[in-house]
């Protein structure tokens, strides 16, 4: 019988610190996930946690992990050459095939940028796949900014709006929540525009509402949920909302579905 909880060993090839508490771990792997899928990542005797895949090639995958608990604290102690244990990928990602030749807007808050970063890089490599890309990213403060180098690269090709909730004395960029910038966003044809929103629950809720106000149809909005998960295969029950299992039917949902996920 196949053991569905058995992880496989994956070597850490490099570690890229993003902030004091967010590191990107690059693991040797030939997993080719859908954008937005996630893995269960574990260290034996410490524990297991669901982590979204922040990028991948056919040689490696990247996990951007914030140090916020027992498992992630231990992961942050690891060095290149050490191993993580992974199972997955799990869940449904963003249906990028349906986004072809559309205007795409990606709004990400904080670590919410991780699960959508691979989509942005996909478009960065193949800009012709879509009409244009608008990126809105928000972080709490300048020191919380993730993927700074990549954001710079994106700016060369796409409209990128970077904002922080609270600046510091050296900050000269935008301040304020993402929602503040949506009313002035250039949206030419709402019906032909796909919006992806990922971030903390409150950010997603109000960002979606702002886009609805701009006339984006509900069915064009996509979100990704974060929930506690112990199994990721529809057994443990932690991520269930009504009859929906976030690990199975999500974590990516169309807004027409996500708005019904009352909790």
């Amino acid at each position: 019988m196949t053991n569905v909880y058995m992880p496989r060993k994956a070597e850490i090839v490099s570690i890229i610190p993003q902030t004091d508490i967010d590191y990107t771990f690059r693991l040797k792997s030939d997993i080719l996930p859908q954008h937005g899928q996630f893995l269960q990542v574990s260290i034996p005797k410490i524990g297991e946690a669901p982590i979204s895949i922040s990028d991948y090639t056919d040689e490696y995958i990247e996990l951007t992990i914030r140090k916020v608990g027992t498992v992630t604290d231990a992961i942050h102690e690891l060095k290149p050459g050490d191993f993580l244990f992974i199972r997955g990928p799990y869940g449904h990602g963003f249906p990028v095939e349906d986004f072809k030749n559309k205007n795409v807007v990606i709004a990400a808050g904080g670590t919410g940028l991780a699960p959508v970063k691979s989509i942005i890089n996909r478009y960065n490599r193949n800009p012709k796949e879509i009409k244009n890309l608008n990126i809105l990213v928000g972080f709490k403060s300048p020191k919380d900014i993730l993927f700074e180098d990549e954001i710079k690269k994106w700016k060369e090709k796409f409209d990128v709006l970077l904002t922080v909730d609270n600046g510091d004395e050296t900050w000269t960029g935008n301040t304020g929540l993402i929602t503040k910038f949506i009313p002035d966003l250039k949206i030419e044809n709402p019906d032909d525009t796909i919006v992806i929103v990922v971030g903390p629950p409150m950010m997603m809720k109000f960002t979606c509402l702002e886009f609805l106000k701009r006339g984006i149809p509900e069915k064009n909005i996509w979100v990704s949920f974060e929930r506690k998960m112990s199994c990721s295969i529809g057994k443990c029950g932690h991520c269930k909302i009504n009859e929906t299992y976030v690990c199975l039917e999500g974590p990516v949902f169309n807004y027409t579905k996500s708005k019904q996920l009352l909790d």
Binding site: M1, T2, N3, V4, Y5, M6, P7, K9, S42, I43, P44, K45, I46, G47, E48, A49, R66, V68, G69, T72, F83, F85, P200, P201, E226, R227, K228, S230, C231, I233, G234, K235, C236, G237, H238, K240, N242, E243, Y245, C247, L248, Q260, L262, D263
Partner: protein, 340 residues
């Protein structure tokens, strides 16, 4: 046709079967109850007729036979993951129809939900033989007729225990060798009417009025009354949620285990995500989540009501909260809400 047995021949059958099977039944553990000088009726291994407790409903269900409270998934030595062995014996469970039906409810989660079968569940579940205990009267908090779980026909052997007179119907021929006695006419009976009847809500009506039901004031009472102890979910034969837990051995920290342990949607921490956010902080919201799972969303997903009407949640609640009463309130609210 049935076979009539006396205690001696029944015990002899158990003795024969015990060579190939572990045999579980409700048992009375003297002095093990929550309160001083009270007993605990629960599931345990038995070897004779006198071990079986039939006069009282078991506080805990037989689910732990196939889904243990704590189950080791892996043993770790350094970085090696090793799956624990299980013994070769089969499993016989003496249970009432409601509890037999609860195994089918667990099957939906562990074997049918999502793309994979849960291998740890399956390897125990595949061993199970149902020795169903005839139950025609039930107990004061039973409502299995209302939930449609009063009958279970897919038994291996069916038993009527009438004091010391035992009649059985051996449906599975593989057990014929163990039971010998006088052949008698025997038709298994099932309870047709409980003392308590509950009208379950129409799930389509809930779907159409989801926000109304979710935000209904009826849940507020449980924010005040419920203490989030999780007893209802522990005693429930169909609750199946678990959390992963890694440990290392204190005397050798290089070795350890990954386990799964029962979890409860009623208890703090169930929805905690990294960084401190959690959902359903109010106890009334947790009550709504649990009740709706039992009577609404599980049915929407699997086509059958999750609750089997055993009434254990009502028996064990330290705050005397009645699930039956909540279900009635929901049905009532749904019916009234719809007519508005």
């Amino acid at each position: 046709m049935g076979i009539e047995l006396d205690v001696k021949s029944f015990d002899n059958a158990l003795k024969i079967l015990s060579k190939k099977y572990k045999i579980f039944a409700p048992v009375r553990l003297k002095g093990k109850g929550s309160f001083s000088d009270t007993d605990l009726v629960t599931y345990g291994e038995i070897s004779s007729y006198k071990d079986i407790e039939l006069s009282e409903k078991s506080r805990y269900s037989p689910k732990e036979v196939i889904y243990p409270i704590t189950q080791t998934l892996f043993y770790f030595t350094e970085d090696e993951y090793k799956e624990p062995e299980i013994d070769d014996k089969g499993i016989i469970v003496f249970l009432r129809p409601c509890d037999a039906n609860s195994y089918l409810k667990l099957d939906n989660i562990f074997l049918k939900n999502g793309p994979y079968e849960d291998n740890y569940y399956k390897r125990l579940r595949d061993k199970v033989k149902f020795f169903v205990i005839e139950c025609t009267k039930g107990f004061s908090t039973c409502f299995c007729v209302s939930t449609g779980s009063n009958k279970f026909l897919d038994y291996d052997v069916f038993f009527r225990f009438d004091n010391d007179k035992i009649t059985c119907d051996v449906k599975n021929d593989e057990f014929s060798y163990a039971f010998s006695g006088k052949e008698v006419e025997f038709t298994p009976e099932f309870i047709e009417k409980n003392e308590i009847e509950v009208k379950l809500p129409d799930i389509d009506k809930i779907s159409q009025n989801l926000e109304y039901v979710f935000n209904h004031e009826l849940w507020d009472e449980y924010t005040k009354r419920c203490i989030a102890c999780g007893r209802c979910t522990v005693s429930c034969p169909t609750c199946s949620c678990f959390s992963m837990q890694d440990i290392f051995y204190k005397d050798n920290p290089k070795c350890g285990e990954r386990r799964r342990v029962w979890a409860s949607c009623m208890v703090d921490g169930f929805t905690d995500v990294a960084g401190g956010h959690s959902y359903r902080q109010k106890y009334g919201e947790r009550m709504r989540f649990k009740v709706m799972h039992k009577i609404y969303d599980y049915k929407k997903r699997f086509g059958t009501t999750m609750c089997v009407g055993c009434g254990r949640c009502d028996d064990v609640c330290p705050e005397y909260i009645s699930f039956i009463k909540i279900v009635s309130k929901v049905t009532d609210a749904v019916d009234r809400g719809e007519s508005k």
